[in-house]
């Protein structure tokens, strides 16, 4: 084998990607040719350096839990998933149990309060949002495609709400569901804004003048708008200023 030919195979040889026959031929050449052998050594040393020094990032537990939630799997199973590292498994499980306990006690603690305030539509919307987040039932139809979401909503409602994906403006449509608010089925568009989830409830001739100002209920911001023949109500833990543009665009 000549150097010219060997050189073509050098990287593949160092990567262990050659067939047994080519590997044999290259090895014989390397035994006889220090220049090419040096080249392979250089390739190997770079490989080793990359593997040793460039970190292989691992998914944060928070991401793992939210992806599990995304898949609709029970949250607790995320904790019992077999993992290579037992210690992290236990830490993950502990963190999840802690989260679940906090949420459960918070929900139980605020349930009494809810009953008193839920007469109000904004509170009902926040409650619906929280319930969906906790029960992990944010999305009945998962799609960023407005042409998938809109027909689905129309087929489940007696009206057809406008649906827009506004990913370009930072509000990515992730899906939709139907909530019952105030005794009516209400189309609920789910958007992702940075790390936040935004629920947008939309229904024609619905809010009237019952609610005008942005409000904050238990840390969730509630905004309303009218337009496009619909009434719009947005609920999110993102700031009111952050979600205002979304509502403005939708109700244009």
């Amino acid at each position: 084998m000549k150097c010219e030919n060997a050189r073509l195979d050098m990287d593949s040889y160092a990567d262990g990607e050659l067939s047994a026959w080519r590997r044999f031929a290259v090895r014989r050449h390397l035994d006889a040719c220090p220049a090419c052998a040096g080249r392979v050594a250089e390739a190997r040393s770079l490989q080793q350096r990359i593997r040793a020094e460039a970190p292989r990032f691992t998914a944060p537990e928070r991401l793992r839990a939210s992806v599990m939630a995304l898949s609709g799997g029970p949250v607790a199973r995320a904790a019992t998933r077999p993992s290579r590292d037992l210690r992290w498994q236990w830490i993950g499980a502990g963190a999840l149990v802690g989260c679940v306990l906090t949420i459960v006690s918070w929900v139980a603690g605020t349930a009494a309060l809810d009953r008193a305030t839920e007469t109000d539509l904004a509170s009902a919307a926040v409650a619906a949002h929280v319930r969906a987040v906790l029960a992990d039932q944010m999305i009945q139809v998962a799609s960023s495609d407005q042409h998938t979401v809109k027909p689905w909503l129309s087929s489940h409602l007696d009206y057809s709400p406008p649906v827009q994906d506004l990913a370009d403006e930072g509000f990515a449509l992730v899906g939709a569901r139907i909530e019952t608010l105030d005794g009516h089925p209400v189309a609920t568009l789910v958007y992702r804004y940075r790390k936040h989830t935004v629920d947008v409830f939309v229904r024609p001739d619905w809010l009237r003048s019952r609610m005008t100002d942005p409000r904050t209920i238990r840390g969730f911001h509630v905004l309303r708008a009218e337009g496009g023949g619909m009434d719009w109500l947005a609920v999110s833990d993102a700031s009111a200023e952050a979600i205002a543009p979304l509502l403005r665009r939708l109700s244009e």
Partner: protein, 185 residues
């Protein structure tokens, strides 16, 4: 309907969850930002969940990483369109100009364990992704070709070019060599 949903979730957990670290690692190297990487992986997992039924036996890792990469390119065209246009390699070519770097600074940086990671992160996207898949995810040429949707030959040439760029980076050269280059010029 319910049965289908359950089996999709079951498949998702079996086929996708074991490769979540790989997905995050690729997204992290592509976006070079932990938060953005999480966004990309979330998006990719939503897509994966939708199509997991169409995954036919095995190859879950390459399949998921293909989706992560697509999700990244969608994300980058929305959020950093400039990066794709201007990431044809000029940045790295600039970086390999030995005169552009102060040898003393290079010596200091050399002691820093992050030197190689920084060098890899500074490679143009198409070379960076090939090297990350090869060295950090330990994937075969064939699987890489599948993920980045190019022929195996292209994978080989991108790996070769990416590695050559890394080798020429001043921060990865022994200091004496930089000094020598300087004296010559």
């Amino acid at each position: 309907m319910m049965g289908q949903r359950v089996s999709a979730h079951g498949r998702f957990e079996r086929e996708v969850m074991p490769h979540l670290d790989a997905a995050y690692n690729l997204a992290r190297w592509l976006t070079r930002d932990p938060d953005d990487a999480e966004d990309v992986v979330q998006d990719a997992c939503l897509r994966a969940l939708r199509y997991v039924e169409s995954l036919r036996g095995g190859g879950g890792k390459a399949w998921l990483l293909t989706i992560v990469r697509n999700a990244f390119y969608d994300w980058v065209s929305r959020n950093r369109p400039v990066e794709i246009i201007h990431d044809g390699g000029e940045a790295a070519e600039d970086a390999v100009d030995a005169d552009a770097i102060d040898p003393e600074q290079a010596a200091m940086r050399k002691s820093d364990a992050r030197v190689l990671a920084d060098a890899l992160a500074s490679l143009p996207l198409q070379f960076r992704e090939a090297i990350v898949l090869r060295e950090l995810e330990d994937m075969s040429y064939r699987d890489i070709a599948r993920v980045i949707d190019v022929p195996v030959g292209t994978v080989m040439s991108r790996l070769a070019r990416g590695r050559a760029m890394l080798r020429r980076m001043p921060s990865l050269q022994p200091v004496q060599e930089i000094m020598a280059t300087r004296r010559q010029s």
